[in-house]
Amino acid sequence: MENRPLEYDYTVAKLFMYNAIFVGVAGMLAGVVLAWQMAFPQFNYILGVNFAEYTNFGRLRAIHTDSVIYGFVLSAVWSTWYYVGQRVLKVSMAESKFLMFAGKAHFWIYMAASVIIVIGLQLGITSSKEYSEFEWPIDAGIVVVWVLWGISIFGLIGIRREKSLYISIWYYIATFLAVAMLHIFNNAEIPTWIAAPGVGNWYHSVSMYAGTNDALVQWWFGHNAVAFLLTTPIIAMSYYFLPKESGQAVYSYKLSLLAFWGLMFVYLWAGGHHLLFSTVPDWMQTMGSVFSVVLILPSWGSAVNMLLTMKGEWQQVAASPLIKFMVMASTFYMFSTLEGPIQAIKSVNALAHFTDWIIGHVHDGALGWVGFMVIAALSHMAPRMFKREIYSKSLLGTQFWIQTLGVILYFTSMWIAGITQGMMWRAHDEFGNLAYSFIDTVVVLHPYFTIRAVGGTLYLIGMVMFAYNMYKTMTSSRVVEESELQNATPMGA
């Protein structure tokens, strides 16, 4: 038998990377179409009146949110897991046929579920729970996918050479455990053919919660989906890729540990802020507000730790587009985790709730923090997986500035739109009559909706540039030696 030295095996990481890039472009395209629909309703007929059923806002909205969260981000999270997991545990997937099989099954079952989800959402089949629109057969399939990921996590940990689990691994484990719990409790449901035989289709179901309880469980899930799909795995990435790319040790490893436990402790209680001034008990609303404000501390603990990791090495920000993406991501994380708690304060929420300011908040986090960190992570991994340099540094740098401009246009327009909306909705005359009708707000907001669509389009253009750059990196870029891959990622002009 050939006696080759042991190497990390990135087969599964590559598969998830391809999907992350593809769905990233597709999911954001859906988002851009939606943004233009908000500004110009005729975009609901973008493929003609005959296809309006499939291209209207109601159908595309769930496709956009689900594909960017569960397609783009989750694929990228798994790609980084199958890369970072091996490296910080110092064990190769090639050492276990079983784990390799589980990893491939993880990818292909996930892909099959994704295709069914997209077709189902296009046909309008939905359980109508936000961010959790899937009917029960898909919910069951998601459990299988999640268990396979768990097998990979704990299987690799079981055969590791490095005794201590690096901080990123803690965050991946937190993601795994929390999402498992969230998914099961939020999707507790009874198929209609058991609850009411003969009524509805076999794949429909009825939630086990009703009314306020249903809303409470939904937002406990909804907020923690943000926490454990769009925050913890992204922090896992930042704790690995920023130190690795810059060659700098994490500023304070102890701070990373205490920020981890702080985040775990606080995040799960904050979901109530989605239901302020609703029918849930008042103490629960207050708790949601208080925990949201406290959440600034652990969030900033991680973000400050990232920025201080660059201490004395700030020239790298100018030199490397990857460091630019990561430093900007950490900055947007700080920004977004300050903005969120402000919105969760009751008096601010009275103005902000249901307005476009919330959409702005989601997107400065999702585009600025999550998107930028994912782009940097994929750019760091690709040369190491394919043994080729990044095809074009200037393309990556241009992409950074175009996308940064896109995010800024997005959230500033939504701030103005949201606060204008909130002020107009509550304005009244001396007799208590509302000063404005709904259509008055629409007329005023139109320019900001247009600016938002332009911002989203710029971000999408950046994603297309990224996809092209990555395609060229994988296929035709200059081949590099192992010695060039130590820290800073090699890049062509």
Binding site: E7, K90, E162, K163, K244, A249, Y253, K254, F265
Partner: protein, 67 residues
Amino acid sequence: MDIATLQAYGFFFFTAFMVVILYSYIYHLYSSQKDGSRDYEKYSNIALHDEITDQPVEEILKDDEKK
């Protein structure tokens, strides 16, 4: 006392207990680093030296690999 009041007290004291645990952990992290009994900062090197041929920061010793 009705069940809702009990729940509220239970929640408050549980939260207070968890706060004590969290702060004790933070105290432990910094005091054990200071008195030299643990070095947490060395774990940063797990990411920096992550080639499969690199020496682990803390190796798991497997007896069966020695045979």
